[in-house]
């Protein structure tokens, strides 16, 4: 229960309201218990004495007590509405802020669905438990004690029978909830799996249709739906069993009490009024007694939810702002990697470091292309610059200052990124592109004019003029909830976003992969201008992207094995030729070797033949290279 105790930090100022609610509930229940006593007075007094006039004040008393009970009942709820929901909201905001602060490697491990259930349903459960569960558990326990006391005082034998017969119900209720919540969790998991199957069947519909595998997906879906069904039926069976208990146990208790009570009344040991009051009290107590088991289980669920909440809150953030941050007013943009090592936490022991001693310096204003085979760690290297991950050895510096010495926010103002899988948020095109320029938000005319200028320029560079033609122009919502854009369109907007941020250093991870040749060429031409004054690190797969760069760094086995201009590397590095030259370029190179003119003559048929002939040769070379790669 320590986890639940920790909640007090969030309850804080709401505490008096919860206590007040508890008191209101308690008084209401105690009033409910006094009504049978009045009933007894009526039966044994006016009714036994045939005194009609005396009935009126007592009936009015019942009415008055009933009204007060109802009012207190309302008060109990009213008191916790505001405070309870505020506690929930506070916890939700805290969780969200914490999650945003936690590093990317945390998010790699936690699927967003898991986080979502914590942020929504778990916190709702905690709120309900605080507002109702906790209040009613305390109140019901007191009411049962008082109620059984009253029954005992009326007649110890009847009270004892009632108490003893009720005990199994507590036990059954508790045991039921244990099993039931186990099944509930199972069914939640299975429902989650089923939802995954559905999502995949929809997202992968092109594949399923292309291969005609709808049946295959269906059988997978069917079997998951079936196991969910059997869990649900097992749940219903437990539910059915507990209802037998809830119905039968009180029936046994009350039938014994009825028989014994009548006998006692006939003996004159019990008045008729007391017998009436006994059954009326037993009716009042029925629900609190039934609820004890459920309430215990409710507390257990709330504890689980609280644990899950604190799991996240207690997660240690490994990438934090330094205690004494350094600051740069206008960085020149010298980006240096010095003996950088990195490995993912979950990477198996037998694998070496993914980045195994990277040394690379980008001078201010320089554009450096980063080239290497898929999976060699290029994207990871780019992520180190803005501390999406932290190096596990060595250092990354901006103008000689370790990136870990900046506040994260400042660092990310200096360095902007565009990712290969372009994420857009559910907001207008304008907001998405100006994401890195929060100072340009707002309706002030001068700010607005500047924003429009930046926007226009960024969209022009990224060849994203299509955005003007969207249904609502730049105010069209994109992202999850908005217009769906093609991969190429999203990539161009993401590029515009990085450009609009006007950073000292621009980091682009294969930013043009989804563009067609013509668009790509236009983007490149436009990029060249801004790259003249900005330091840039560009991950490249294609020769055309490499052309943007002043120098190229070749990555191989977690190291930078060569740095130089494109043509230098083509000349000097076998691996570079292997990585960057396509079949046809090989052909062309071969052709240039044979005909080393700097400006080849216009295409002729014979030259084409020559090219094709050379292609075979190149192919053979490429194959050789492949084989060498494989045996290395």
């Amino acid at each position: 229960m320590r986890a639940l105790w920790r909640l007090r930090a969030f309850v804080g100022p709401a505490m008096p309201a919860f206590v007040g609610s508890m008191l209101a509930a308690l008084v209401a229940q105690l009033i409910a218990l006094t009504i049978p006593q009045v009933l007894q007075q009526i039966v044994d007094g006016p009714l036994a004495n045939r005194d009609a006039a005396a009935v009126v004040p007592l009936a009015l008393l019942v009415f008055g007590l009933g009204a007060v009970e109802a009012l207190l009942y309302g008060l109990r709820r009213w008191l916790v509405v505001g405070p309870g929901t505020r506690v929930e909201a506070r916890m939700r905001n805290t969780l969200y802020a914490k999650l945003q602060d936690l590093p990317v490697n945390f998010h790699d491990k936690w699927p967003s669905g898991q986080l979502l259930s914590r942020a929504v349903s778990d916190l709702g459960l905690i709120r309900r438990w605080l507002s109702f569960g906790l209040v009613l558990t305390v109140v019901n326990v007191i009411v049962i004690i008082v109620g059984v006391g009253i029954l005992m005082s009326m007649n110890w034998l009847l009270g004892l029978i009632f108490l003893v017969c009720s005990l199994p119900l507590w036990w059954a209720g508790y045991r039921f909830e244990g099993r039931y919540s186990e099944k509930s969790r199972l069914s939640q998991d299975q429902a989650g799996d089923l939802a995954t199957a559905v999502e995949e069947s929809v997202h992968g519909i092109r594949v399923l249709k292309a291969f005609g595998r709808g049946k295959h997906a269906l059988s997978n879906f069917r079997s998951q739906a079936e196991s969910l069904r059997s869990t649900e039926i097992a749940k219903a069976r437990l539910d059915a069993d507990i209802w037998v208990w809830i119905m039968v146990v009180p029936a046994i208790a009350l039938s014994i009490c009825l028989t014994v009570g009548i006998w006692l009344a006939a003996q004159g040991q019990l008045s008729v009024g007391e017998l009436v009051a006994f059954f009326a009290t037993a009716t009042v107590l029925a629900w609190p007694i039934e609820s004890i088991g459920f309430m215990l289980a409710f507390a257990l669920d709330a504890r689980t939810a609280t644990d899950r909440f604190f799991d996240i809150i207690d997660s240690e953030n490994t990438i934090v702002d330094p205690a004494e941050p350094r600051s740069l007013d206008r960085p020149r943009g010298e980006l240096a990697f010095t003996d950088v090592h990195f490995r993912y936490q979950d990477s198996p022991e037998r694998f070496g470091d993914l980045l195994d001693g990277i040394d690379l310096v980008l001078t201010p204003g320089e554009t450096m292309a980063l080239v290497g085979l898929t999976g060699c760690g290029k994207t990871t290297l780019t992520a180190l610059t803005t501390r999406l991950y932290d190096v596990t050895g060595g250092s990354v510096t901006l103008d000689g200052v370790d990136v870990r010495a900046f506040k994260r926010e400042e660092l990310r103002t200096h360095i902007a990124m565009a990712f290969e899988d372009a994420t857009l948020f559910s907001a207008s095109v304008r907001e998405n592109v100006l994401l890195g320029r929060p100072e340009l938000a707002g309706d002030d005319p001068s700010v607005r004019a500047e924003a429009d200028r930046v926007l226009e320029q960024a969209l022009a560079i990224a060849q994203a003029a299509f955005a003007y033609d969207l249904p609502e122009g730049l105010d069209t919502r994109v992202g999850e909830e908005g217009m769906s854009l093609s991969g190429g369109q999203r990539q161009r907007l993401a590029l515009a976003r990085a450009v609009a941020a006007k950073p000292a250093v621009l980091v682009l991870d294969d930013p043009l992969s989804a563009l067609d040749v013509t668009t790509e060429a236009k983007v490149e031409a436009a990029l060249r201008e801004i790259l003249a004054s900005t330091t840039a690190l560009i991950v490249a797969h294609r020769p055309s992207t490499v052309m943007l760069a002043d120098r190229v760094a070749l990555m191989e086995d977690g190291r930078i094995t060569a740095v130089g201009t494109h043509s230098e590397l083509l000349r000097e590095s076998e691996h570079y030729r292997f990585v960057i030259t396509s079949l046809e370029e090989d052909a062309r190179l071969a052709a240039t070797v044979e005909d080393p003119g700097p400006d080849p003559a216009p295409e002729t048929a014979s030259q084409t033949e020559q090219t094709i002939a050379a292609e075979f040769e190149a192919e053979a070379r490429a194959e050789r290279a492949t084989r060498e790669e494989a045996t290395r």
Partner: protein, 601 residues
């Protein structure tokens, strides 16, 4: 505006005929779901009637015991006492057992309905054409199958049980009260008037608030999920603070709506208690007078008071689930809309078998348009002889993908026919069609499961050796072997740490394993690095040697393996010839080729 199918789904207001139409179709759906379950339904109805009666008998038996048992026992007659005690026990047992029976059977019914509905929606979703999926978006079709079905499940699971049982309990209580003491019954009936007013008020208010609450929570969830899935971009562009403000606003909205809902309950529930307690006091007063003048027994008065008090018990729960009922019925309306959608690419009524396809693809007078006023592909003819490799070239939006989708029958032509070996694709048996024609797209989707499972989608009964051979053929074997568990590595959701290029290699292996007569590659190599692309191209030359192939590529390098190039512009084929012919000419392809060569400098 029409409301057929999924049209008008996003609207809040419908005209009378429209909402009648929508209700009719969801009623029809419900009817067809329940049709096979009639016998079970009757059993549950019987169980619930008897168990409610048994549950309600209790107080009457107590009254009997007090009024008849005490005097009889004074005369040493044990019978009424024993009868009351045993009957009380018996009704408890019967009630308990029948309620248990009811719960079990109704769970079977609701699960049968659910699984039937799930399967229908799932199958129908798969059957609907890509055209539908592209316009309806994946998010919506997924929420039809998840959150909407959840709403129905919640109602069936608990809500319906509570509603039906509560209602029966109230009816029986009222009837019983009228039987044992009509005046008390009248008091209870009179209390129905304020009860009705209060409930109606609650219904109207809560309906609006619950709808708002659903909207608010949906917004909250979208913001949350978007932040977490896009966390890199959030961090890279310092969106944290702005997000916190935005999220804080959404949380506050949601809290506000929730507080209003809870506030409604804080009025409704005490209101119920007040009405109940007042009714008890009046019953007591009037009954007391009648006991005094001897026209009513004390025991009956007690029973009347207990009945009146207990009558209101189920109301709270029923009010809760009224909203469940609301959201379930709106979910059912949306689902029935999806089910009403007709697939625009239907399976043939009389399928023609084609056991062994040669691979000749013909377009005869084919025209294609999404909307009648704008042709995407104006009328054209085209023959692709078996075994030929075609490259489709042209700028974005020229209609290359549409042409490819016609061959793979993701779409049907608006006019004319597309045929394989002389058989209209619309008549071809779906199995034969999918075996003969396979399309690989740029977006290489991986399903959760192992790498081997994913390749095996091309051929479900493939052995591991066949799978490995396919992977080797496209050059994916080496990287797969270097994964932590080789072919048994889990690709995680959405491809996990398998890179975009590696995903494409896996989907290539998938197509290779399927071994179709006609292979369509839609930018299937866009994310590969150059060495992989080189390997794939080598593989393609053997792979495509004896089959028909259509390749869409942005990069001219891929075009070099084609026998024939089609250049498309604005939906028309503007150039058609061998690569050499076209390069030698002065057309679009020659220009593209020159531009591409320049870019290599």
């Amino acid at each position: 505006m029409s409301v057929t199918g999924v049209q008008g789904e996003e609207r809040d207001e419908y005209s009378k005929t429209e909402s009648a139409q929508i209700r009719a179709r969801s009623r029809a759906l419900l009817g067809s779901l329940l049709a096979p379950l009639h016998a079970k339904l009757w059993v549950t109805a019987a169980a619930i009637v008897v168990s409610s009666a048994a549950q309600v008998a209790g107080p009457a038996l107590i009254a009997y015991g007090i009024d008849q048992g005490i005097p009889a026992l004074i005369n040493q007659n044990w019978f009424p006492v024993a009868f009351a005690g045993l009957a009380y026990l018996f009704t408890g047992l019967i009630g308990g057992v029948l309620i248990a029976t009811y719960i079990r059977i109704s769970a079977r019914i609701s699960q049968a309905v659910l699984i039937d509905l799930r399967t229908r929606v799932f199958l129908h979703t798969q059957r609907l054409s890509l055209e539908f999926h592209e316009s309806y978006t994946s998010g919506r079709i997924i929420s039809r199958q998840t959150s909407d079905l959840d709403a129905i499940r919640e109602l069936l699971d608990e809500g319906l049980t509570l509603l039906v049982r509560g209602l029966m309990y109230m009816v029986f209580t009222a009837v019983m009260l009228l039987i044992i003491d009509a005046p008390s019954g009248l008091v209870l009936l009179a209390s129905l008037i304020p009860l009705g007013i209060l409930t109606r008020w609650f219904q109207l208010r809560s309906q609006a608030q619950f709808r708002r609450s659903r909207v608010a929570s949906a917004r909250l969830i979208v913001q949350f999920v978007e932040t977490m899935t896009g966390i890199r971009a959030v961090k890279a562009f310092r969106k944290e603070k702005r997000n916190e403000e935005e999220f804080g606003r959404l949380v506050e909205d949601y809290r506000g709506v929730n507080a209003r809902v809870l506030g409604l309950f804080a009025v409704f529930n005490p209101g119920l208690a007040l009405i109940g307690n007042t009714a008890v006091a009046v019953t007591l007063l009037w009954g007391g007078f009648r006991v005094v003048d001897g026209s009513l027994e004390v025991g009956v008065l007690l029973a009347a008071v207990l009945y009146t008090k207990r009558f209101f018990d189920p109301m709270e729960d029923m009010a809760m689930f009224y909203n469940g009922y609301q959201s379930a019925s709106s979910a059912l309306e949306k689902i029935s809309g999806v089910l009403e959608e007709q697939p625009s690419v239907p399976d043939p009524a009389k399928p023609v078998d084609l056991w062994k396809a040669e691979g000749t693809v013909r377009f005869d007078g084919v025209r294609f348009a999404y909307t009648p006023d704008r042709d995407v592909l104006p009328e054209f003819d085209l023959e692709i002889p078996a075994g030929q490799t075609i490259a489709l070239v042209g700028s974005t939006g020229a209609g290359k993908t549409t042409l490819a989708k016609l061959i793979s029958r993701f779409y049907d032509p608006s006019d004319g026919r597309v045929s394989l070996d002389g058989v209209d694709l619309r008549d071809l048996h779906p199995k034969d069609l999918r075996r003969a024609i396979v399309m690989v797209t740029q977006e290489a989707y991986l399903f959760s499961g192992t790498v081997a499972d994913n390749i095996a989608i091309g051929k479900p009964d493939a052995t591991l050796d066949e799978i490995k051979d396919a992977a080797r053929a496209v050059g994916a074997h080496d990287f797969i072997e270097s994964l932590p568990n080789g072919y048994d590595s889990d690709v995680n959701k959405r491809g996990g740490r398998v890179s975009a290029g590696q995903r494409q290699l896996i989907s290539f292996a998938r197509a290779f394993l399927a071994d179709p007569a006609v292979l369509i590659l839609d930018e299937a190599t866009s994310s590969l690095d150059i060495p992989s692309e080189r390997l794939v191209q080598q593989a393609l030359q053997t792979l495509l040697a004896d089959r028909t192939a259509v390749i869409i590529a942005h990069r001219l390098s891929t075009v070099s393996i084609a026998d024939r190039v089609l250049v498309m512009e604005h939906g028309r084929i503007v150039e058609d010839g061998s690569p050499e012919q076209l390069i030698a000419g002065t057309g679009r392809f020659a220009q593209l080729h020159a531009a591409w060569r320049d870019s290599l400098v």
